[in-house]
Amino acid sequence: MSKPRVAIFDFAGCEGDELQIVNLEENLLTLLGHIDVVSFREGMKEHSDDYDIAFIEGSCTRESDEARLKEIRKNAKLVVTIGACASIGGINCLKNFRDETTVRKEVYGDKYEMYETYPARPIDAVIKVDFKVHGCPIDRTEFVNIVKSLLADQKPFVPNYPVCVECKKNENVCAFERGQTCVGPITRAGCNSCCVNEGAICWGCRGLVDNPNENAHKEVLDKYGLNLDELKNKFKLYFGNTYQEK
């Protein structure tokens, strides 16, 4: 069997997910033994439109990028998004909460019309996406596991329980106990609670679990006497595209 041909593309984002692929270090060299990378602008000069799997990083933030996305969809058998911006819209959606003209004028002044933009959105708002690799940035181990599954034609495993499950297993002191506001109770696990392990909070970068237990989260908030506005603000960081005022 010939090796699958892989292309990597980026739209509006920080390219931190592509960096995680480079950060696989020697495992990247192993991975390269099983795939043929045929297009990866950030890392190589060559380019081909003949590929089986397309990995896409970044959100779609302007109409003119939609054609490029549709072209990728047409060429690829499998489209996989990598990272929060591509998978759920991510940080880019923060600008959607503000008036678009104000936002454009604040950054580009009276020349703002020269710079095209529209509300930021995840890739599946424009084209069909076959699989999503979550995280900001993606977790390297999870990425490798997902690629392995895809190469074996199996459905990759992605947890559908909240980050709290992993966080408890890691014996972290709960962020709420430390007096902080955390969105771990409703955020999809799979990151091994990496941010809380480092003394921070869960920011929600992997998006909501499929059926978030909002009541339980509210109980936690009541128990610790926390401010709902503060939490709503934290929701907006990554859940922008799916977040609705309740």
Binding site: G16, G43, T61
Partner: protein, 436 residues
């Protein structure tokens, strides 16, 4: 033979972070167009953070760039700390210097090893080198791995760090962890020397092009300035970071979604070469030895030498990190429980300036009395370099018109790559276009 008619159209320059294009049109021997343009999708970070609370600003602005996320986080923290009048502890200050070194090592190794070496070795990417030069590639991978381990240990995650917060850190590494890191860094000298010798053996491939320009970098009488210092220039007096707008003077051009900048001349350069041109005397001893191997002396006006300057900084950051770790290990008061100072948010404006891998970075925030951001400005190294790249191209193209087209294209791409542009930062760039 001089190309009397030539069209170059490099749409999305490769092996750079972000999207940019190069266009050159020559008709009847006359250069009609020679343009470097940035076509990255704009992201509007300065507007995104308005209305956000102080404790999420560094988290959001870190996302400006994956490759320099540690640098953006540190600059953001400095701006917030300056607005609230926070003085971090001397130990936090040492560890933040280690954080800057960690990112410098990570980013420079990636750039020199993965993005520049393929040009010097005549291939399109590092992938074929993995089979043709496995020993060298493994060395580069190994150095990159140590730098990432250092970033993870000091900053908590290699990308979008979690330990760095206003007031200090959420966690300090233990002395045992620092000792292990010190040994790894000290064990990397052989590999660094191998890479330096490899680059030296290929240095003849770096175009010999010179155009006088201004170099701007942080500067300090106490150290090779990276985390702290005054804004310095090879042309003018120094000034505190609060006066950054007098240096950057950003302006918009229609062909680019990123802003351009100018100071004493029509453009200036920031980055490793600017730092070495401004602060050569304060480089570590081993770094000076490597600079001498390449005959790199201030003031060097060849932008292609920026990659060599990065190599010299890899040596400096390794040597200075070992020095800092030794100081921490010898300090009996080191307390991993005492990582963050207490403070209260207050209304005010604060400025942060840090030398990140690609040059001087500024964040400027205005907060209200509840600690919510009212106004923000971020000036990115790559934006400060765009105009300089453009003027270099204008000076360079007439000098190389007698070369075959593929060589002209490569020389122009290498020019852009030498600046190690971070286009998603600046917003995104790099493509060469020739129209025929």
């Amino acid at each position: 033979m001089v190309n009397t008619n030539l069209n170059i159209d490099i749409h999305h320059v490769t092996r750079v972070e972000g999207h940019g294009n190069i266009t050159v049109n020559v008709k009847d021997g006359k250069i009609e167009k020679c343009q470097w343009s940035v076509v990255e999708a704009p992201r509007f970070f300065e507007a995104m953070v308005v209305g956000q609370k102080w404790d999420v600003l560094h988290h959001i602005t870190s996302r400006i760039c994956g490759i320099c996320s540690i640098g953006h986080t540190l600059t953001s923290l400095k701006a917030t700390e300056s607005a609230f009048g926070i003085k971090i502890s001397p130990m936090s200050s040492k560890l933040r210097r280690l954080a800057v070194h960690a990112e410098n090592l990570q980013s420079h190794t990636l750039h020199v090893g993965y993005l520049i070496l393929p040009d010097l070795m005549g291939v399109g990417s590092v992938i074929p080198l993995a089979s043709s030069h496995p020993a060298e590639v493994n060395i580069v991978v190994g150095l990159h791995k140590v730098a990432n381990q250092m970033s993870g240990l000091v900053c908590g995650r290699t990308t979008h760090p979690q330990r760095l917060i206003p007031g200090g850190f959420t966690k300090y590494p233990t002395k045992d962890e620092l000792k292990a890191l010190r040994d790894k860094l000290d064990g990397s000298w052989g590999d660094i020397t191998t890479v330096a010798k490899l680059v030296l053996s290929l240095a003849g491939k770096l175009p010999n092009f010179t155009r006088e320009t201004e170099f701007i970098a942080l500067t300090s009488k106490d150290e090779f300035a990276l985390y702290d210092g005054l804004i310095g220039s090879t042309d003018t007096e120094s000034a505190p970071v609060e006066r950054y707008l007098e240096y950057t003077n950003e302006y918009l051009v229609p062909e680019s979604t990123a802003k351009y900048a100018k100071h004493a001349r029509k453009s200036y350069m920031v980055g490793a070469l600017a730092r070495i041109n401004k602060n050569y005397d304060r480089l570590s001893p081993k770094a000076k030895e490597v600079a001498a191997m390449f005959n790199l002396k201030p003031v060097c006006h060849n932008p292609y030498m920026n990659s060599v300057a990065q190599l010299v900084e890899i040596v400096h950051s390794t040597e200075d990190s070992i020095r800092i770790i030794d100081e921490i290990l010898a300090d009996n008061s080191y307390n991993i429980k005492n990582t963050c100072v207490e403070f209260k948010p207050k209304a005010g404006r604060g400025f942060g300036g840090v030398e990140v891998p690609r040059g001087i970075l500024f964040h400027d925030y205005t907060y209200n009395e509840r600690g919510f951001c009212e106004k923000a400005n971020c000036i990115i190294p790559t934006n400060q370099n765009h105009a300089n790249i453009q003027h270099d191209m204008e000076a360079l193209v007439p000098q190389i018109l007698d070369k075959p087209k593929p060589e002209i294209e490569l020389t122009l791409e290498m020019l852009v790559r030498a600046y190690d542009p971070c286009i998603s930062c600046s917003t995104h760039m790099l493509n060469v276009k020739f129209k025929e």
